[in-house]
């Protein structure tokens, strides 16, 4: 529950303000960006997500560090379970794996 999950902003929702599509290890989900109204957010930015809300804007380097920390803490499965659960969408068909090797740059197929 207190996991801070680094996620990359893929696009902003057109219909609703304060909603962005983010990607975590190939899994895409919507998160609420309403707690970062004082930040200037753009596609490609990294944010730390708590319980479906972006809480802090971070650099890509910090995002990679955080992914590494979570992996070292053995939290990678919990992170993916949480991300896949956002939006009540249930487990994704393609299982995301959180690791520094696959996380930031690869575009999912």
């Amino acid at each position: 529950m207190c996991l801070a999950i680094p996620a990359k902003i893929v696009e902003f929702s057109t219909g609703e303000s304060s909603r962005a599509l983010v990607e975590v290890a190939g899994v895409r989900r919507h998160v609420d960006t309403g707690l970062l109204t004082e930040e200037c957010l753009a596609t490609g930015d990294w944010v730390l997500v708590h319980v479906g809300f972006a809480m802090s804007k971070i650099s890509e380097e910090q995002a990679l560090d955080q992914i590494r920390t979570l992996t070292m803490l053995g939290e990678q499965d919990a992170v993916m379970e949480e991300v896949e659960g956002y939006g009540l969408e249930g487990p994704a068909s393609a299982q995301g794996v959180l690791s520094p090797l696959c996380a930031p740059e690869k575009t999912p197929q």
Partner: protein, 376 residues
């Protein structure tokens, strides 16, 4: 070499550990409290205690939201869930925490409509999808999660979703630290401050700890090096006879916190006069209640809640462990009746609970880091 290899920069880790040994006065015994359960988890997972000299003791603090919630509040929540028209939602962490007659998961198995959500906004979404039912979100957590609940309440009000309410159990970290400092059986020399709570509240709320209590507090990140560097910063302060708030986690924590998050909290919550914490008793102004202007979305205003008070099982010593008076292994039930597979106390449920962390990493006797670090 496994664990050392996992560290990003083992040479820097070794150097920082050396610096800690150099700074620690061998004539003193230091007790530093890591307030946050995330730090407790990291300290055990990385075996950081093995890198510290024996006269530095890390005391685990109360910063595990699942752990500090008294059993009575779980029973109160379950009393709401009894209503057949209610869909009761909670984070996964809460599902296995025992109430007097079983955990939410066990109640679900007995037929109650209790569902896991990963975000409060999903509980609101569920309410929109089920206009004929009432959806309650069991809100727990410190200032890290409270802003998300706050914004969800604001969204529910703005959209006029009337079949949704929040059973609010949010707590605040500062009064808990104050209670620990006021406790006669506690002697803490300094604090490792919580990282993610501080992204919201910033560093200012800790200033009284330095000013009035003359204790250093260093807000810390979660990597092994972050925690070790924070200990160096604390020792340097003590060495110089100083006490101030420092921010080791500057890359994520702004000194002023997250103003949008604080604003959302101020809009929807005010302070309860008092709230019961597991093991620590009633602490004044230590929890959040939903403001009257949001009463329609407040489960405590909508439902008749029994206000159950339940004492923990006698043999379980969760309270003493939570306050840092006892180590997890000193509890009579630890590792026997109470295990992560069959938790009796909440500290054994969450990965941030000190008992679960101690059980998973110390009790299972992983190879200590000291031997490995020598080879770096």
């Amino acid at each position: 070499m496994k664990f050392v290899d996992e560290f990003r920069d083992p040479a820097v880790i070794s150097k920082t550990a050396d610096e800690i040994r150099r700074l620690a006065d061998p004539a003193r015994h230091y007790r530093f409290m890591e307030v946050c359960g995330g730090h407790t988890h990291a300290i055990y997972r990385f075996g950081l205690k093995d890198l510290l000299p024996e006269n530095i003791e890390l005391v685990h603090g109360p910063g595990c939201p699942v752990c500090v919630l008294p059993m009575g509040r779980i029973d109160d929540g379950l009393s709401i869930a009894q209503d057949s028209n209610t869909i009761f939602t909670a984070f996964g962490d809460m599902m296995r925490v025992p109430g007097r007659h079983g955990s939410p998961l066990q109640h679900k198995a007995r037929g109650m409509d209790i569902r896991i959500v990963y975000s409060p906004s999903d509980a609101l979404k569920l309410a929109r999808k089920n206009p004929g039912r009432h959806v309650v979100f069991f809100a727990i957590g410190f200032e890290t999660t409270a802003p998300s609940t706050a914004l969800t309440l604001m969204r529910a009000k703005a959209a006029g979703v009337r079949n949704f309410s929040v059973f609010c159990n949010h707590v605040t970290i500062i009064p808990a630290i104050r209670a620990i400092l006021d406790s006669p059986d506690m002697r803490i020399d300094a604090f490792i401050g919580p990282g993610h709570v501080s992204t919201v509240i910033g560093c200012r709320p800790y200033e009284w700890i330095a000013r009035n209590e003359h204790k250093p507090i260093v807000v810390s990140g979660f990597e092994p090096l972050d925690i070790l560097q924070s200990i160096v910063m604390i020792l340097e302060q003590l060495h110089r006879g100083e006490a101030k708030v420092e921010n080791q986690y500057k890359r994520v924590v702004p000194w002023e916190g997250n103003r949008a998050a604080l604003k959302a909290m101020a809009e929807t919550f005010d302070l309860r006069h008092y709230f019961e914490w597991r093991g620590m008793g009633f602490i004044s102004q230590s929890a959040l209640r939903i403001r009257d202007s949001y009463a329609e979305w407040d489960a405590e205003a909508r439902f008749s809640i029994p206000g159950v008070r339940v004492t923990d099982p006698k043999a379980a010593q969760c309270g003493e462990v939570l306050k840092g008076v006892l180590k997890p292994s000193q509890c009579k039930l630890f590792g026997r009746e109470c295990t992560p597979e069959n938790p009796i106390g909440a500290l054994m449920v969450s990965s941030e609970g000190s008992c679960a962390a101690y059980y998973n990493y110390e009790h299972r006797k992983r190879q200590p880091l000291t031997q490995l670090s020598v080879a770096v």
